[in-house]
Subunit: 416 residues, 2 copies
């Protein structure tokens, strides 16, 4: 149908024309629209306390204590259950967050501006691995780290980014793809490239060498530091792709630990949800499937822009980490995702595949017709609050989301 | 012959057992054995002024001015021609140097210690790309940069390395191989990993934030910063492999811009030389083959330990940079080099080749029998002094070196 084809061409054109720049780090309360006091933004499509999974409830309790809205985790959980806090999806506030995806007013957020269209997107700063709030951690160690991020790391990064005039993210991602990153479960190259881009400016714009050393050490020690930057970038690229009449291109994929939801350009802000699936993957020592929470987080915005599981061919080393088979077979994931996408990205290419562009623009028609659902590289949280990450794996987006979205799009176009 | 087989097994065992640690940066005059005043160490097998190529003569003149042994380049060249300076090969002083390979007393050197055997090796710090002394550059810009390296960068790196207790290089290289580096013409991943390993310590052990910022900026801006670290590591690994009776394993490959020379374990310190070949490669804008100097530098120690051209399969992106054909064909170089090597390195593996170890231990018998000579990824210098790098390419080690070495080994074993 020509309307859909033309709409999808426009969707892909907007994706490829995006100019995402990481421009600043500022407190969420100063910049995230409609983020008020006692309000907690979370990952995934909208949900409510009684439907939230264990790690998300744990994170909610933790962040309420962190913000000073409760004196301890127990009081926080009681207040949450009693409706004392407002909840909403990050995606409804120009934001994204990994795993539990807690965004509250005092936390610093990375600001990515799409300079082609002028919109901005926001994501908190990556806390590192193990027992961290995004995986449901909520004890003193977790909250103290968040306080240090708020008081030291955030301001230091903000001043450095303003000093360098922002960092262009498209060339950084292009380079990372030539260095084995797929930007979802493997960000070691981009994290190093990011450090190179800001290390001197962090030093130049701050005077306390002890604090500078702490900041450089924190960034240096975290292989996934760049994940949250890539997520804010993904949101900044995809938001202007929304609301194109007739377009069947996916503009967001996201999960809250209970539901998997997608949004599609031609159906605007509507979520199409289905029960989220369990990742299949590899577990850290001492953990197994019985400990795993179902899939969670806004980080699937990475796959929405053609990276993560879609760019597996760039990252043979990640295949082993997420239990996706032999390294030499990683390219098959990329080729398979090419079957459900409208185009390829000529600026984000995979050297080992003779510079094939990553699959770009998930078309719900192709998903439904082919029976191939998006492959997602994901971290695995413990199902109980307070524990943290227990593994990493591969998960599929549920087909029902795409079927529902296609039905709704057809209704809108009067071709039901 | 059993003596040779057993000797080669011991040679490979020593290569794989090496524990190279980057421990310090100190002035060459304080640590390089027998490096006296008015003495200049150069790359490649030994040579003399009248046989040196243009860029090496240019570098000699420049370093003599830098050291204060001549008031200008003309006086320096006259003094060099008159025999006022002593010349010797870096390799005769536990050292290596890229391209022209100038090592003199006041320059800081990276110190790599092989903690398995206790020996140390030395290499100056990488100056960056373009017009630099290793490519024959010698004007005020080049000499001022060397002065800053001597006065600011070297001491800052030394204090940082002592603070962190040194950096283990084998795991760093292993990681770099999973990130697209082959460590000769592509070091962007390892340079980033190195920055991550020292950035916080540089800040912690220095107080002048302006100087710290300069140092972090210099390391961050140089994709080849890690090359010289890899070279010192290569020398530290291979020196203990020398002097094994009967071994036909290559312990060094090196070139001075006129001669290509190799050393073989069973023939000790003897050099086997042949005229060096011209690289085939790609030229920077404005330059072509007519500008190119023949191949030069001690950096072939990288291939001697199984990296560089031998690890091309890890680095599809470098294939295009050095003009080695399609990215997807990079693996063929690695497989071909496997045919002339005694073993593979189980700790340095290539994810895309399902973790095949890099080819390890070049056996001169296999080179001569197969007719396959080592593939080297190399930079190309302008043939005239004072200009610098004009391209990058691939070059083959001359077969005559291996034939001469094999004849000499046979004579020593009485099997002429």
């Amino acid at each position: 149908m020509e309307l859909i084809e033309n709409a999808n061409k426009e969707a892909v054109r907007r994706m490829l024309a995006a100019e995402p720049i990481l421009v600043d780090v500022v407190p969420a309360g100063d910049i995230v629209p409609d983020l008020h006091d006692q309000m907690i933004l979370h990952a995934g499509p909208p949900t409510e306390w009684c439907r939230m999974c264990g790690p998300m409830q744990g994170a909610i309790s933790g962040i309420a204590v962190f913000e000073g809205w409760a004196k301890d985790l127990k009081q926080a959980a009681t207040a949450a259950a009693a409706g004392h806090f407002s909840f909403d999806a990050n995606h409804h506030h120009d934001a994204v967050g990994p795993m539990t995806g807690m965004t509250t007013a005092s936390q610093p957020v990375l600001v990515v501006e799409n300079q082609k269209t002028g919109n901005q997107s926001y994501c908190t700063i990556n806390e590192g691995l193990g027992k961290v709030m995004r995986f449901g951690g909520n004890d003193a160690e977790v909250l103290n780290r968040l306080a240090w991020i708020r008081d030291t790391l955030g301001p230091a990064l903000g001043s450095a980014l303003r000093d360098v005039g922002g960092i262009q993210l498209k060339p950084l991602i292009a380079r990372g793809l030539s260095m084995g990153d797929e930007m979802h479960q493997r960000n070691v190259a981009c994290s190093g490239l990011f450090l190179r881009a800001v290390a001197a400016a962090i030093t130049k714009t701050n005077s306390d060498t002890r604090k500078i050393s702490e900041v450089l050490d924190f960034i240096s020690a975290n292989d996934q530091f760049h994940l949250n930057i890539a997520m804010a970038m993904g949101k900044a690229i995809m938001d202007p792709v929304s609301h194109i009449e007739g377009s069947s291109i996916v503009t967001a994929m996201s999960r809250n630990g209970t539901d998997f939801g997608i949004r599609v350009s031609g159906t605007g802000n509507e979520w199409f949800t289905a029960p989220v699936e369990m990742p299949e993957g590899l577990y850290f020592a001492g953990y197994s499937e019985v400990d795993a929470n179902p899939d969670m987080g806004d980080s699937t915005i990475i796959e929405t822009i053609g990276l993560g599981g879609f760019a597996m061919g760039a990252s043979p080393a990640v295949a082993g980490f997420v239990g996706a088979g032999a390294a030499s077979e990683a390219a098959q994931y990329t080729r398979s995702m090419g079957e459900i996408c409208a185009s390829e990205n000529p600026e984000w290419t995979i050297p080992a595949l003779d510079y094939l562009g990553v699959p770009t623009g998930i078309d719900i028609r192709l998903v439904v017709d082919s029976g191939i659902t998006p492959t997602i590289n994901t971290g695995i949280a413990h199902r109980q609050p307070g524990i943290g990450q227990v593994g990493a794996g591969v998960v599929r987006a549920p087909m029902a989301c795409f079927e529902k979205a296609l039905q709704r799009l057809a209704e809108k176009l009067g071709i039901g």
